[in-house]
């Protein structure tokens, strides 16, 4: 009995030891795991299908909307200057709501508060296009979420969720993306899960999609019930992922299989 218990403890210790965070030097983005063909597609703006949404977003940026009849451009001016580095700092604290908002929610809040327009639906072409256009302005810039004391509880929640086993497969995010990255899950390489290139063009989706969509599809994959789009837990997880990827360059719109 004692031997069994000791063995059990040894296994438990091994499991605990395995859930270590990735060494900063060993961090790699989805791009680093991608095939040369996919990298070529991402690198060439005229072959990167995500650019179709970026171009659409550029049009929407200048289009007047809502009861205020104002466009994004009317307040923010040239996106190349005003939106530079912005996406690299999201999710960010909204002082009024006293909780973090991700980029999609920020855009929608700007729509409802300042443009007095209807919020755009999650994963709608328009929201993806605007988000992609804004995030494109941070390409090459390091991820730098502003993790002040107000965000600490949300960051801790995100970290907890990342390490929490869930679903019928009883797996946590961390078990794949911290402990087993680089190995294969069926035919695909398990990446480290750094959200450098969102919204992302996935060949599987044949479309651009948000980080929330990606998180939801991972959760469905382990047979867990996914968070609703924009749920506080989902945003907390996004926040933790961005903090975990701190310093890595943004590459929106990235292309992944």
């Amino acid at each position: 009995m004692r031997v069994l218990l000791a063995a059990g403890l040894a296994v438990a210790a091994a499991v605990t030891a395995a859930t270590a965070e990735i060494d900063p030097e060993a961090r790699r983005s989805g791009y680093d795991f991608a095939s040369p063909e996919i990298r070529a597609m991402q690198d060439d703006d005229t072959a990167n299908p995500g650019m179709l949404w970026v171009l659409e977003g550029e049009t929407l940026w200048a289009r007047k909307a809502g009861a205020a009849v104002r466009s994004c451009q009317d307040c923010h001016g040239d996106a190349e200057a005003s939106m530079r580095g912005i996406a690299a700092r999201y999710p960010a604290l909204d002082a009024v709501l006293a909780r973090p908002l991700d980029l999609e929610q920020r855009i929608n809040r700007c729509r409802t508060e300042n443009q007095r327009a209807e919020p755009l639906a999650w994963e709608s072409e328009d929201l993806l296009a605007l988000t992609a256009f804004v995030a494109r302005q941070s390409r090459g810039l390091p991820i730098a979420v502003v993790a002040g004391p107000e965000l600490r509880p949300f960051l801790d929640l995100g970290k907890e969720l990342f390490r929490q086993r869930e679903g019928q497969l009883n797996l946590s995010c961390s078990q794949c993306h911290d402990d087993n990255w680089g190995k294969r899950l069926a035919g695909s390489v398990i990446p480290q899960g750094h959200p450098t290139g969102y919204p992302i063009y996935r060949l599987e989706w044949q479309s651009l999609g948000s980080l929330q969509r990606r998180l939801r599809s991972c959760m469905t994959g382990v047979r867990a019930e996914p968070f609703d789009y924009g749920a506080p837990q989902g945003v907390a997880l996004e926040l933790y992922l961005m903090e975990r990827a701190r310093g890595m360059p943004m590459d929106t719109p990235a292309v992944l299989p």
């Binding site: 060439d44 005229t46 072959a47 299908p49 650019m51 179709l52 659409e56 044949q206």
Partner: protein, 106 residues
């Protein structure tokens, strides 16, 4: 109209082989899928793509349901003389999208 990206060198030497890359936004719905109520989603794909150079057809492609959304088509042609290239995509609904690009041949 759908959004299109065309990559073509603005100038080339006479006789040079140039690469042309095109990307168009299109759902390329196969016709084999069902919606969440079980009804068939009608097929809607780009079925033809044609490129003509100063009126001469230099490239044509027939597309089928297995081709992904937002199809990317790359091909090459020989730069013969200064003029325009016309790119045309035709889909199942009869929608025609045409784009014109100029090329200068020295």
């Amino acid at each position: 109209m759908a959004r299109v990206m065309i990559n073509i060198p603005p100038r080339a030497k006479r006789g040079e082989i140039i690469e042309i890359k095109t990307l168009i936004q299109h759902p390329m719905e196969t016709g084999y899928r069902l919606d969440n109520k079980g009804a068939a989603i009608p097929r809607d794909i780009i079925s033809r793509f044609i490129c003509s150079y100063n009126g001469d057809e230099v490239f044509r492609a027939e597309l089928f349901p297995a081709i992904s959304a937002n199809p990317f088509i790359a091909f090459s042609t020989v730069a013969t003389k200064t003029g325009e290239l016309v790119f045309t995509w035709i889909d199942d609904n009869g929608q025609i999208q045409s784009e014109i690009r100029q090329i200068t041949v020295e």
